[in-house]
Assembly symmetry: none
């Protein structure tokens, strides 16, 4: 098994100033080529720490990919540290120098001493030409054929270098087997109940197949993984067959595979059926609409929605009966139902989702504690409602209510075409 370590360099990661997405992308590339990432490490712009971490990484893994610290300024020390580590002198690379000069001229930037330094590279490395930026990537090999790769930290430059240079070279350099991962999405069973139901199946999994539970609000994903498989097709078929067994154990809880989210499933169904959707959100405050409108093509079915935070908006735009708000409260089945029906009417849509609840941190009562959410789905023929407790934390309540409400619509769409 070929193993890798990913090292990201930069104090901004250690002080929490940025989210590290580079290592996510690198991990995906390596995995899909059958290289197993054993560890990801983030360290500061510190030569000693870089050397120590690299030395340790090369004792346990054959591939080390380092990002960051390749800029032209003094705080960027990766190149000099690597040259020292590999006992290498420097040389000037003409192709890189010409490229840097051309790039900068196109942007009206003066070519100065600092930019010039970008073309100076360690003699012992192979330059990975960076078409999209000024800092080249570097590929070092040692006597044991282990590979150390240094890439710039700018995400799209790194991404292009991984695709165009690093992955093709790694596939040639090593004889690689396959890592296969597949993820099933289940809904309606909390993690503990799901685990109980599939315990015998889990127990019987072959030793080389690894199961992981990935819980999220109202959804638990099950991932089966196999590493370093010689026959990729056979490995994939084995995982598919194991998942197929679950069709007999939890048939009503299997939603789909891989990354398809509930909103993506609704998106596909409504697009196919040429039906339309609207939203009427109180406690979820736009989160339901956002999930749909984030997807390309949403305008084919999403007419729009109303965020009805104030009662006056519930009454004025959605036509909720003011007396009912007084009688049952804004967080009530009656108001949820009227919000959904009102949104359907006001936007002339086939379907509408509504939520009204108490997101906290204040506003809870004994009868209606924080987390209480009434939700409704209005269809061309009828309206369904549900009461859910969505937790105790504001963000959690908004997320769960959003997930539950979209699932409610999905089930309705799946079971009923409502033509």
């Amino acid at each position: 098994m070929i193993k890798a370590t990913i090292i990201t360099i930069g104090d901004e990661i250690l002080i929490g100033q940025i989210v590290d997405t580079n290592s996510v992308s690198i991990a995906k590339h390596l995995n899909s080529a059958g290289i197993t990432v054993a560890e990801k490490v983030s360290i500061g712009d510190n030569a000693e720490q870089i050397e120590q971490t690299l030395r340790r990484a090369l004792t346990t893994t054959q591939v080390v990919i380092i990002t960051g610290g390749l800029g032209p300024t003094k705080d960027d020390i990766t190149k000099y540290t690597l040259a020292k580590f590999f006992s290498s002198d420097f040389r000037e690379d003409d192709a890189v120098a010409r490229h840097v000069k051309t790039m900068l001229e196109a942007r009206g930037i003066v070519y100065n001493e600092l930019n010039h330094s970008q073309a100076v590279v360690p003699e012992k490395c192979t330059v990975l030409f960076n078409h999209h930026g000024t800092a080249p990537g570097m590929w070092f090999e040692d006597a044991e054929r282990r590979v150390t790769i240094s890439l710039p930290g700018v995400p799209f430059e790194m991404e292009h270098l991984m695709e165009d240079e690093v992955m093709p070279r790694l596939k040639t350099h090593f004889s690689l087997n396959a890592n296969i991962h597949r993820t099933m999405i289940t809904a309606g069973l909390p993690e503990s109940m799901l685990a109980e139901k599939i315990a015998a199946w889990e127990e019987a999994l072959p030793a080389h197949i690894k199961l992981a539970y990935l819980p999220a609000p109202n959804v638990v994903r099950l991932r089966l993984s196999t590493y370093d498989a010689i026959d990729k097709t056979a490995a994939r078929e084995e995982i598919n067959a194991l998942f197929a067994q679950l069709n007999d154990i939890i048939p009503q809880h299997i939603v789909g595979f891989e990354e398809a989210s509930m909103q993506a499933l609704v998106h596909d169904l409504l697009t196919q059926r040429q039906q339309t959707l609207s939203t009427a959100e109180s406690c979820t405050g736009g989160a339901i609409a956002s999930r749909f409108t984030a997807m390309a093509g949403a305008s084919a079915y999403f007419n729009g929605g109303v965020i009805a935070y104030a009662n006056e908006v519930k009454i004025g735009i959605l036509g909720v009966n003011a007396e009912d708000i007084g009688r049952y409260g804004a967080v009530s089945e009656s108001v949820a139902r009227q919000m959904a029906e009102g949104a359907r009417r006001a936007t002339d849509s086939d379907y509408a989702i509504a939520t009204t609840g108490i997101a906290g941190p204040t506003g809870g009562t004994k009868d209606k504690p924080i987390g209480t959410v009434w939700m409704a789905v209005a269809t061309p023929t009828h309206t369904i409602t549900a009461l859910r407790n969505c937790g105790t934390d504001r963000g959690q309540i908004i997320n769960r209510a959003t997930a539950y409400a979209i699932e409610m619509l999905y089930k309705e769409l799946k079971n009923n075409t409502n033509k």
Copy 2:
């Protein structure tokens, strides 16, 4: 100097299935309390690797925070690995058991053997009570007073535990100095030219002040950091004085400093002034409303909004003139203005934000390419509009349009009370 290591556990990180945001949040908490994160490590659900990494972390740092691997299922091994590491037996915690039972009952989940196991904790740890989930946090101390903390991987559970339990305890346990970071935003100078202009200033920085360049398209941020400062106020003043020197060197390139989010600034201003807000969103599809409603207390000023994706919704609910849509197009200054004014009127609010644009990936034309967004802010006295190009990628366009529109409102609120 008190140093920390953050260890995140889970194969999903190593195969690139999720983006690790937990460690970002933990790093921020530690840093702001004066604890310096020396390293962040992500490893798999593997007992041997967890033990090795923890052993190594405790040789170089006094605080180790571990997230993940605390669920009720078999792939979650952190608790058992830590018990073994600290040679601890297990005990059942009554308070946790009661809490887990109550939580599950409220959600209609059967309390089974797996849930019961959540209440079993290592004898040698102090339980950090998790009000928002079923897996408790754990606090271990060793003979050298080094601390190892284990937290659940669910982001909001981790976040509450960091705030309510971990940080107060760390502040009591250690005598902490301050880490100060301040970031200046510069625009209009590429990194290499900026570095050249401020070279003398950089050269003269005191040894205990660290400078970092954080380049992004059109913007370079400069961060000054000082670690382990005994006098927090003096350290802050020293950094401010150093930044002030740049007023003479690059006056026209200083945009500002990194601060609280724009929506938080708007939230505070509207709450103080007891004024109200509404939204009328086309291309941002609920993202603006979501940013406000995610903040506790938003209901004090946020009346509601309309997501007007279909033209019929722009016309029917917001009162946009249908002929103007025909004449100028839905993505136009006139429509943005009418949307904002319509939302203000329909929700009886003091202010309204509106967006209408082309989020892509289709729908662009030569005159109005993908990324074109018209935005408007309606106030009690007048309406302002702006045209912005927000990029090329759907997610990026929604994010940028959201940020620009909120910034537009913020500037209006800051410059004008509009009473």
